[in-house]
Symmetry: C2
Subunit: 240 residues, 2 copies
């Protein structure tokens, strides 16, 4: 779709994904994983450790959901597995410390975010619509200094059509009045467009394996990909 064909004139509420859309997140997970692989280097190579970690995370997804606490529990489980039960309690303490440090991090805001929110908030109701842990996301939003632009944070257990349908009910709007902005085709674009809503996709340079999607799954129309959040306000007719 060309930019001039994207004309969502009916929008009332704009939902922003948080992690890697408003602020840096995935790179912090990658850093923790690198430290984790160093800690377990005597038991296996980084490739195998990451593969087994991903398996454990996927097996735990239904019970744990998303977020850093789920990640920490999966790291501990993976460490015990990969080491065949030889990991020391001291190393497990270190994993817990790594996780706590990641939770306590102040996530860097991505460039252009404040400016775009400033323009959009004049005309639209803005919300944060994110997976993960409410406490974590509220902390990140508070630390970011941009919480004043948002009506509230909507925490979703997952970002599938059902969850967006609930969100629209909760917001008391039709799908055609909703625009979602985010870095994940799978979570922020496809389900929203399938429901009849609009979406702007802003790819981030690192994507968690779980969020990747085949091109074939992409829906036709009503969404557009841009390189940076800078372009969102122009797309919505509010200048650059």
């Amino acid at each position: 779709m060309r930019v001039n064909e994207f004309q969502p004139h009916t929008i009332k509420v704009i939902g922003f994904d948080a992690d890697d859309t408003l602020w840096v997140n995935e790179p912090y997970y990658r850093e923790t994983e690198e430290k984790f692989c160093s800690l377990l280097a005597e038991y296996a190579g980084a490739g195998e450790i990451n593969r087994r970690l991903y398996e454990v995370e996927m097996n735990n997804m239904e019970l744990y959901g998303y977020g850093t606490k789920a990640f920490m529990l999966s790291l501990i489980e993976t460490a015990i597995q990969v080491s065949d039960g030889r990991i020391t309690p001291a190393a497990i303490s270190e994993i817990i410390q790594m996780g706590k440090a990641q939770i306590a991090l102040k996530n860097s805001l991505l460039p252009g975010v404040t400016d775009v929110l400033d323009r959009l908030s004049e005309r639209y109701r803005l919300i944060v619509a994110t997976k993960g842990d409410l406490l974590d996301q509220e902390r990140k939003l508070k630390n970011s200094g941009i919480s004043g632009y948002f009506h509230h944070i909507e925490i979703m257990t997952d970002k599938r059509e059902d969850n967006y349908r609930k969100l629209l009910g909760h917001l008391d709007i039709n799908a055609g009045e909703f625009l979602m902005v985010g870095n994940s085709l799978r979570s922020d674009v496809i389900p929203v467009v399938n429901l009849g809503g609009y979406a702007i996709h802003i790819p981030f340079h690192i994507t968690w394996q779980h969020e990747t999607v085949d091109e074939g799954e992409l829906p036709e129309g009503r969404y557009i990909s841009v390189d940076s959040i800078h372009e969102v306000s122009a797309l919505m007719g509010l200048g650059q």
Copy 2:
């Protein structure tokens, strides 16, 4: 306050606490703690283990918040501490399994809940207002068979005045239009009444140490304690 003095005629929305108000929860934590103490029996007595677990939980509260994953991470940390680093990875695996089993549990609904919700839902918008983990609480609500009575679940990072103020903003109502029903004076009653709302307190036979409160902290008026959720519909003038 006498029952006939409790006349909240202005209520539009009724918030229900979930754990130990709609369904059994705290006893499952106590069961896991008992198993945890048995697992660590060679290192310390149950009294000391529980005391140190509570310390670890309180130290982690700001970073982890509430919910079973936070509980699991604190159990692991406590096990390493109490055993002076002698705990085996196999025992840590067992703690993880205990936590997963607790997450997967189907929480028993408390008696009278369905009947009361059935009556109240005819006249009021009902929501679940709870701390803890969204995924956990959605799973419990889904398993409970009563999700149809609620407009949505409101997950709160904590239940203090600030959080309730946000909730009221989110619901677009004044404090005097809100009634909270729950088992915790500290979390469900005091902050709501302080804001100018109403509350019905239904004590549960087990209360987590963190939720206990001194009688001196109790506010005057606009809340009432009843023995069972059965009494709530009569209090709201909807028969018993």
